[in-house]
Amino acid sequence: MSVVREAAGAPADRCAPGKPLYGEILEFLYREAALLDNNEFAAWVELCAEDIHYVMPVRTTQFRARGAGFEQVSFFDENINSLRTRVARLQTESAWAETPPSRTRHFLTNVLVTGTDRPDEFAVAANFLVTRTRAEQAYQMFAGRREDLLRRVAPSEYRIARRRILVDQTVITSANLSVLF
């Protein structure tokens, strides 16, 4: 088992699967996802730290030797003010891409937690699948890896200090990215 953990970059420590801290973080992620799926965006943005950087880089197809293809240009490059603006927009009745609202489902798996050099901050990697349907449309799907930096501000209470959304698609097959990840 320890070999597997080392290979995944997670030392056999207090963050390992099965440990109380891992369970606490997993519960936070599930509660956060439920807020997004329940259209509780105002509550969701409260979970973002004042210094959050929320970014979804554009991905390109590259040869293996040139890396994973994540570019400097992004689909999202957000701070707390722009995230609050997005959330405020979703609460108007005239943000037509979400009025009437989409129905989304956030699925998170393969969650690994790693400690950092700050005792209150944890690097959390997860695979995500976000499905979206609206009106009579077929499902749109977004899959990828999320790399978060979560800050523990109280027992069982976290703030998202950084979120990198590493989407698998180079061409987004959705008219718009009006959902949050």
Partner: protein, 461 residues
């Protein structure tokens, strides 16, 4: 029999559709009536592929996207996949992204740097200037079976560049790029030459929308929609609450279907000089003639369409409720994938002379406002999909869309630039001009079908 075939072909090449309807009757730009049929009909789309995408000039990429020798980006010219490359001599070239042997896609990444292009199928190798260097196991070819001098990559038939923007056409009889763009170059100078060179930053955002490509092009010259489509931003105070705020300007129609708007913003310094930092304003007079410089100085917003599907958007806005307005230059391209599906490209560009802090905030504001995640764009795409979806049925196809606004308005002779100009940017003159060019091209769609082009080396000027 021979006559029947000829007349059959002639009918096919005219404006009469299999349904019996004639495009001349259902698309009447001069009356502001555009049939819904053209936004969902497979037959119309098939004719567009030859008549428009086989004939017009199309934006491929910007020279700043391939700065080094051997730099390659995979793109389209019209709807055909092409390789845009700076060859080992530094010349910008474009080729069909397809091996001469079996047609395999040669460049299979979005961008690369290479000295040769080798086909994965049988190993044929080409130089970056398109010559066939080697076919593998050549000793199996007999005498005369492999003439490598005739098997170079298929170049884009016509290639040209203006202000770093590389355009191509598949029509050997197309006018030169300079002639095609015509007076549009005078306005492109304002957007792409106002302070020196413009740089495209990084790769484009790319996404697919379930819409007819023409619904999107129509929207890129439509100021009238801004207040209602982007109502959420009015509510948040990111846009003015005056429903006429985007009307205070001029629109211009030019030859070959090119169209544009220049709009003044609120009477604040941030909305002058195209939203560029004040430190760059003196450059207008150095790089532009007095009339161009005056237009750049007096306006905040501009949208232009280099017919048919390449657009600039020059705007002043903020991406959140706390920041000051900043200028953004966004370039957009629509590539149809089917009658009702379109691939969207969005680039961020900036003046090379721009200071670092402005570059950063302009870029961040662009990402927050435009592209698929943009708080502006998100709602536009909703319109495009729904306008397309409602055009599919036989009943809808009997009815025209309404493009009559300003049909009786007289041109404004006081506008200092070329073309036909109208005061008041709320009006559908530019759309009518776009559809008039579309109809003109659909009347004369095709050269002899099946004609095989011999490759000719062409070099971007």
């Amino acid at each position: 029999m021979a006559n029947e075939r000829v007349s059959g072909k002639a009918a096919q090449m005219g404006t009469r559709l299999a349904s019996g309807e004639d495009l001349e009757h259902i698309v009447r730009p001069e009356e502001g009536l555009i049939s819904r049929r053209i936004f969902a009909d497979p037959e119309v789309y098939e004719r567009e592929l030859e008549g428009i995408f086989g004939r017009a000039w199309f934006f491929i990429g910007h020279e700043s996207e391939i700065p080094e020798r051997g730099d390659i980006v995979a793109r389209q010219c019209g709807v055909d996949p092409v390789i845009l490359v700076r060859d080992q001599a530094g010349v910008v070239r474009a080729f069909l992204n397809s091996c001469r042997h079996r047609g395999m896609r040669l460049c299979r990444t979005d961008r690369d740097n290479a000295t040769t292009l080798r086909c994965p199928y049988h190993g044929w190798a080409y130089s970056t200037s398109g010559e066939l260097l080697a076919a593998s196991s050549e000793h199996h070819y007999g005498p005369g079976e492999l003439d490598k001098s005739q098997l170079g990559l298929i170049p884009v038939t016509r290639l040209g560049s203006y202000r770093g923007l590389v355009f191509g056409s598949w029509d050997p009889a197309a006018p030169s790029l300079e002639e095609w763009l015509g007076d549009m170059r005078w306005y492109m100078d304002i957007i792409f030459g106002r302070t020196g060179e413009i740089e495209f930053v990084g790769v484009p955002q790319i996404w697919d929308v379930e819409c007819c490509w023409k619904i999107a092009t129509d929207n890129f010259t439509d100021n009238f929609h801004v207040y209602w489509t982007h109502q959420s931003l009015v509510e948040l105070g990111l846009l003015p609450s005056d429903p006429d705020f985007a009307s205070h300007g001029h629109m211009v129609t030019l030859n070959n279907g090119h169209i544009l708007h220049f709009v003044q913003g609120p009477p604040m310094e941030a909305f002058q000089g195209l939203g560029l930092p004040k430190s760059l304003w003196p450059r207008f007079k150095e790089h532009l003639n007095p009339a161009q410089a005056q237009i750049a100085q007096a306006h905040g917003y501009s949208a232009g369409t280099m017919w048919p599907n390449f657009h600039w958007l020059q705007l002043v806005t903020t991406g959140d409720t706390k920041s000051e307005p900043v200028g953004i230059l966004n370039l957009r391209l629509e590539i149809p994938l089917s009658p009702t599906r379109t691939r969207m490209y969005s680039w961020f560009a900036i003046d090379e002379a721009a200071p670092a802090d402005y570059r950063k905030i302009s870029y961040e504001t662009y990402v927050r406002c435009f592209g698929p995640s943009g708080i502006f764009d998100q709602d536009d795409m909703e319109n495009w999909e729904e306008c397309t979806a409602t055009a599919r049925g036989p009943a809808a196809k009997r009815y025209a869309l309404h493009h009559k606004m300003g049909i009786g308005r007289s041109p404004d002779a006081t506008w200092p630039g070329p073309g036909t100009s109208y005061a008041d940017s709320y009006g559908e003159m530019t759309q009518r001009a776009w559809y008039a060019e579309w109809l003109r091209r659909m009347r004369h769609p095709a050269q002899a079908p099946g004609a095989v082009q011999r490759p000719r080396a062409r070099v971007a000027s």
